[in-house]
Symmetry: C2
Subunit: 505 residues, 2 copies
């Protein structure tokens, strides 16, 4: 490595140290911090975010990036050095448009809004949260204006979270998905009796659930020498460095899915982060390619592995040994069906695979309308409930189970919801390729062997970190551009079979 590059990497290392420190502060805030810590923590996170941002967008970084161009010009596109300079420059040009004080203000707003949201959700009191959401909308508008866009402010935000994707493209994809999902949901509703999921609502001891889930995700490949599991209100995965990638989960005594599938989901994120190539450490390349690509990893493990027949053929016996009372009379076949029951429901994170993307669509639309000013914050609950009735046929009984359910709008960063759907689509497209490359995947899963699958993901996705945009990554891994086709085919086939629909043929 040249001296010039090392100098640049020293600065990036410092920025990354600060970002990771902010990560520890955020993790602590959502797990163990006492209530009195809120105000001080907001100041700490705000100061650290401002310093990290200021250092990254400093003139010195710009000069050094200019200065190094010549050195990486001849290198392959995917080399560490060329990728580092390319991605750092993209980040630099984008972030430089935002003043560090605004970044600090955003960090402060997020840290302050979160406990308010938590309480507002608990009390189902949208009015208490509204001023904070209003502030977040305005911050997003300012960010969009500063980043710049041609027609839609959402484009500016989207390009930051999912580089290369536009609002129009997203709307086209969602339209195609909606066309496929809505009749499928109706078809499933007509055959609802085919799947009985009452077994999931029996009595499952919470501690035993946590222990079983943690043990299971280590079998998938989540490395506890470099990770840990804690309990938090809103489950998340957080990457604090190559040796420290954590998951949190929540657990409900009377509903099985929450803890186990939540843990698989978060460990999918964490296995991704544990797989970034070591030589990307402490550079802007150390991270997930985008929220969407991150979500492809969590959803792949959660659904395309964790909600399959071979998976439950392997795990059901040990699960029954752990919960003999609750699982009396059930078997792997019935349990596999139960965890796949599909029906319109109120809560996104509990939604089945078929209806999930409708939840995302709803949020994408509302968030876009708030950003464009066509929907006022105060009118959000009404708009949410009306749209929900339209898409799901359900009446929303209260804001706790409505527009207050997600933590996301307490963060002043919009345009992260679409990542959930993009993740589903990427996951399905990757899985088509994985099945072609690993013909006996199902047999491996049934034997509880996940090493070959994890290695495939490490090789084709994880190790690259942020080298490629989502589109570049999907094309490299699957040979095709991202389309909703594979996902639509997948749900039609799977749920057709589960519910005995004609489309299954």
């Amino acid at each position: 490595m040249t001296d010039k590059l090392q100098k640049l990497k020293d600065i990036f290392g410092e920025v990354e140290d600060l970002n990771r420190a902010a990560g520890v502060l955020a993790w602590d805030q959502e797990t163990y911090m006492p209530p009195g810590g809120v105000e001080g923590r907001a100041a700490q996170i705000s100061t650290i975010s401002r310093l990290a941002h200021a250092r990254f967008i400093s003139d010195e970084v710009g000069r050094r990036l200019d200065d190094i161009n010549g050195e990486v010009d001849g290198l392959p596109f995917d080399s560490d050095e060329a990728s580092l300079v390319r991605v750092a420059r993209r980040d630099y040009e984008q972030e430089r448009k935002l003043p560090s004080d605004l970044v600090a203000e955003i960090a402060h707003a997020g840290s302050s809004a979160q406990p308010v949201w938590q309480k507002a959700r608990k009390d189902s009191d949208f009015k208490a949260f509204a001023p904070y959401l209003q502030k977040n909308v305005e911050l997003n508008q300012r960010v969009a204006d500063l980043l710049g866009y041609k027609e839609r402010p959402y484009d500016a935000l989207l390009n930051r979270s999912e580089p290369g994707l536009t609002t129009d493209q997203l709307e086209t994809m969602f339209a195609e998905l909606k066309k496929a999902i809505v009749p499928l949901v109706a078809d499933i509703a007509r055959h609802a009796d085919a799947v009985d999921d009452r077994v999931l609502y029996r009595d499952f001891d919470p501690d035993a659930q946590l222990k079983y889930a943690l043990n299971l995700v280590t079998k998938l490949g989540y490395d506890l020498e470099r990770g840990r599991q804690d309990v938090s209100t809103h489950p998340f995965s957080i990457a604090l460095g190559p040796g420290d990638v954590r998951i949190t989960t929540r657990v409900s005594r009377g509903f099985f899915n929450e803890c186990l599938f939540g843990s698989i989901h978060e460990s999918g994120h964490s296995m991704y982060s544990q797989g970034f190539a070591p030589n990307l450490d402490r550079t802007p390349l150390w991270g997930g390619a985008s929220p969407g690509v991150h979500e492809s990893q969590s959803r792949l493990w959660e659904n395309l592995v964790g909600r399959t027949q071979p998976f439950w053929r392997h795990f059901f016996p040990s699960l029954r040994n752990t919960f003999p009372e609750a699982l009396k009379g059930s078997d792997e076949e019935a349990f596999f069906k139960a965890v796949n029951k599909s029906y319109p429901s109120l809560i996104r994170v509990e939604a089945d695979e078929v209806t999930y993307n409708l939840h995302v669509l709803l949020r994408f639309e509302l968030e876009n309308e708030m950003l464009e000013g066509t929907l006022k914050v105060k009118d959000l609950p009404e708009a949410w409930n009306a749209r929900f009735k339209l898409y799901f046929g359900l009446d929303v009984p209260n804001d706790r189970e409505g527009c207050l359910q997600d933590i996301h709008w307490s963060w002043p960063e919009f345009a992260t919801f679409p990542g959930y759907t993009i993740g589903n689509l990427i996951g399905a497209q990757l899985m088509d390729k994985i099945r072609a490359d690993i013909p006996d995947l199902e047999a491996q899963v049934e034997r509880g062997e996940f090493g070959v699958l994890l290695r495939w993901l490490r090789t084709n996705v994880h190790r690259h970190g942020r080298k490629f945009t989502p589109n570049e990554l999907v094309e490299r891994a699957t040979g095709k551009p991202l389309t909703p086709g594979p996902w639509i085919a997948y749900v039609r086939k799977k749920f057709g079979a589960l519910y005995g629909l004609k489309t299954a043929s």
Copy 2:
């Protein structure tokens, strides 16, 4: 507040945010961080410490301090503003002698050495730890040289941790203590049978211990809205802001003292930190006056409150309800005696009040000799064991229970051990004054009322934060300079009575 002062306070606020973030990182490292996180965490703490230090010793701070002198000249010595400028200037002049890269190196060394020490202690393997201790000795020597001193390098370090105190003074105090302690220890040994502490080694359920201890310290006044308790190898208290002051503890099934008295001790530290005046927040005045003054608060609650007859008259009944089996046949009188049993033992943190200061003396001497180069690091175990035999009459069976027992030498900051003895002395001197000011203190304690005592400490010690040096604080609170007299009188009286010694009269 003037604009000039506000500008200065903005910078100090930023520095304090960084220091607190480093505190969260350290807390996390000792409680929940996975093993793989060590390397990355060292980099994070190092970067943050360097940035905090660089910001604090920047030319801008120096200019602003010069610039503001005129504004505080007429203000009273103990006013917030005059104290802020005085203490900040003292810190500034001292810290400016240390390059920020050295500060980062020190932070990095501490963070790296700690897990090595932990493993070395577990394995009783001094050789594994020796290179890290060697490094720490050298770092301390560099710091002492940079800070400057007349004759003894220890003076430089001591003046940074306990401003105003010198090595010579310390040696004089220790000599006086040794003269009083050694015959007292011998006298107690001749009457050893007077106190039976076997009850402490019965079976105490760990979870019940933790719960009882946490409940008890909240009754003393530790505020859980602004604090929490966790388990760690080495118990500590850490102040992360006015709303977030935490304790950790450890628990042993077969030895009662560890969890309860450890918790009282750490909550004594934490009540101090929870009592700093709110208007000192995010300034250099927000903190304990020194490690010694901090220790006076922990030891006061642990020993001068927690190891007294009235205390156990109040708490023993509920303790017996919690551990009916273990405490069968004991009573408040016998239990009070048991927790005060005095005998020479290997481990400092388990030592009784009489022998405790000998443990500190031993460390003070050895650390001073390593610093002055008269003791080589490789010879430490031998020197430790020889000196231990001399002072305690005990053979040290292994380094785990010998020179590896304390975490402190894994930190590259010497001259903190003396604080333990200074704390004992200050605590006893404060208690003399408290008893004069609150004549019915014992009756209050026996009723489980600690509010008047806590308010006294808040008023005379806590609220001042770092405004005064240890000597200034002691003089203001007690009207007298610090001397070992009150402590010597206290142990003579207490242990004379406990063991029926002639000195009791």
